[in-house]
Amino acid sequence: MTAVDTSIAVDRPRSALVHFVRRNVWTLGLVGILVVLLVITKIIQPNYGPPAIQGLAISVLPLAFAAVAQTCAVLSKGIDLSVGSMMAFTSVAAAAMMDNRSESFAILVVVGVLVMGLIIGAVNGALVVFTRVPDIVVTLAMLFVWAGAALLVLQRPGGGSADWLSGLTSGHVFTQWVPKAAVVLLLVIAAVWIPIRRSRLGLSLYAVGSDSLAAFRSGVSVGRTKIFSYMLAGLFSALAGLSLTASTGIGTPVPGPYTLMSVAAVVLGGVSLAGGRGGVFGPVVAVVILSLLRTDMTFLNVNTNLATVAQGVILVGVVMVGSLIQLRRQQ
């Protein structure tokens, strides 16, 4: 009896540690790949410097937020196919309201759009929970709804962006090598994610994702947690929409390829589609890698369409290797 007790006592912290290391190994590995890729970039394009890095950071911003949005939904074992449409909706809403208005009014608009993101996310979540229709079907349908709503706000690309908002993403901080957009990205994600991760809600998010029945029996309100995860997805989609408006200066009512790319980034970022495993920083690094890869292919004069092919192949390759490892472990 005592022997059993000690073995559990010894085993538990170690397995927790192993689990922790394994989860971070993926993200650290991605960072390693990114560094290698940056070195390669510098070799093939010796001119690659601060302006290019700033450009990379700005272009990455919307997709990075979209990837975080998708992560929030996937962690609770959902999936949000409406991320791209929510981005279009929030982006045109922001652009339409900020057009020809004062700089200070834009602050109100930004806050309003973020609240709007929470609300449309809550609508998605509530529909998933109360209709008991699979997540993928509900968010597929809401993809049409939010895209339609975006077209109601603006029929064609237009509107405007406040100067301070655009200024927030361009330029650099301290040294030339630290793009402002990257700092904004990390600060915003950290400010929202870290408190949640450490709170009861964050824990129940992971609990519902890994085993909703077990979570329910230990007193977690599954429905409320799912709605919360979709609200987070809505919030980050709104941030992605705002960064679209900030970087282009206008709002475009047609959803870009962000939904599918966000799913790809989530998988590459080490988040399990089965829910409950992974974090938000892996997908962000994955987004940067994917877009740096595209840049490199342009430098090498490779047809950029082959970059799309490469992204698909990488996605398949990573997932196949991942599931092979898992199959091995099960045997």
Partner: protein
């Protein structure tokens, strides 16, 4: 259950009670779906009296057929709890490919090449989903990126003049035999019968339902799921290729993004037709009616003069509503 027997005991037809209706919908989802379709046709007539003619019906069917084929890909893959998100890219690619090479190779060879490539894409999907156990959503999504990228590369290699869509495809996709009967039914009816026969009457069809319903039980009873899934996704890819021929003929355009907008409606048609995204439940007849329902709904919305925006919103809400009603009825 007790409601049904009560109704029968009191001598009333079983569909007059609420639980009897539920049982009817659960066992024969095609009946309420046809009812919904009839109501929608009636609504079309009420909104614009005189619009429902054989010609109108023909136009509806002509538009629904490519959608129904793509939704067929979703139906057969969803039966095994999968999904095929590469059908949009594959259908566009096959239509585009034929239009660009038909001048050099002749129609028959061009069709064969396009179908072989569509099948190869499906083969990769099937190996990924079956052998490597990659989630079909991810696998087919990634393959759609690969196909789109390669099609774009091909587009830059090949600059073709005009639309390039062969005249035979235009006849097949856009013409009518007589008023109300589009030519594409000549292709679709045998195809649909083949799918329905395969699902209901062959061992392969049973295996699809079995794997989707309970993968562990089917494995223990000797089904080799990787073989079944590989064949399944090859078939799905080839169906998408065929849909691409019809779509390029219908619109007389060949573009690498032609069928992208049909991807999500194809999933919606299968869901509305009663196919469960969790596998093991669904029929192709339901899906065909689902595709007709979606086509009539979008025609009603456009004849009401609603802008595209309102149409999309109503379209989305309707999918949620129908799916919710289904879930409620079939799980109680």
């Amino acid at each position: 259950m007790s409601g049904v027997s009560n109704a029968q005991a009191s001598g009333r037809p079983r569909w007059t009670t609420a639980s009897g209706i539920r049982a009817l919908i659960r066992e024969r989802p095609i009946v309420p779906l046809l009812g919904l379709l009839a109501i929608l046709v009636l609504v079309s007539e009420l909104i614009r009296p005189g619009i429902v003619t054989p010609n109108w019906a023909g136009v509806m069917i002509r538009a629904a057929v490519p959608l129904a084929i793509l939704a067929g890909c979703q139906t057969i893959t969803m039966l095994t709890a999968g999904i095929d998100l590469s059908v949009g890219a594959v259908a566009s690619m096959s239509g585009f490919l034929v239009a660009t090479i038909v001048g050099d190779t002749g129609l028959a060879i061009a069709i064969i090449i396009a179908l072989v490539i569509s099948g190869l894409v499906g083969l990769v999907n099937g190996i990924g989903a079956g052998v490597f156990k990659v989630h079909p959503l991810i696998m087919t999504l990634a393959m759609s990126l690969v196909v789109l990228g390669l099609a774009n590369v091909w587009q830059l290699e090949r600059v073709q003049t005009g639309s390039g869509v062969p005249g035979e495809f235009r006849d097949l996709g856009a013409n009518m035999i007589v008023q109300g009967i589009p030519v594409n039914l000549l292709l679709f009816i045998p195809l649909a019968l083949l799918i329905i026969f395969t699902l209901n009457r062959t061992g392969f069809g049973r295996l699809l339902y079995a794997i989707g319903d309970n993968p562990i039980a089917s494995r223990l009873s000797g089904a080799k799921s990787w073989q079944v899934l590989t064949v399944l996704y090859v078939l799905s890819g080839m169906l998408a290729g065929i849909a691409g021929f019809l779509l390029s003929g219908l619109t007389n355009t060949a573009s690498v993004t032609l069928a992208d907008s049909a991807l999500l409606p194809s999933v919606a048609a299968a869901v509305i037709g009663g196919t469960s995204i969790f596998g093991g439940r669904g029929t192709y007849t339901g899906t065909i009616v689902g595709a007709l329902i979606l086509t009539v709904i979008s025609s009603i919305l456009s004849s009401l003069g609603y802008p595209e925006a309102v149409r999309q919103i109503l379209f989305g809400l309707m999918i949620v509503f129908v799916a919710a009603a289904y879930t409620r009825i079939t799980t109680d």
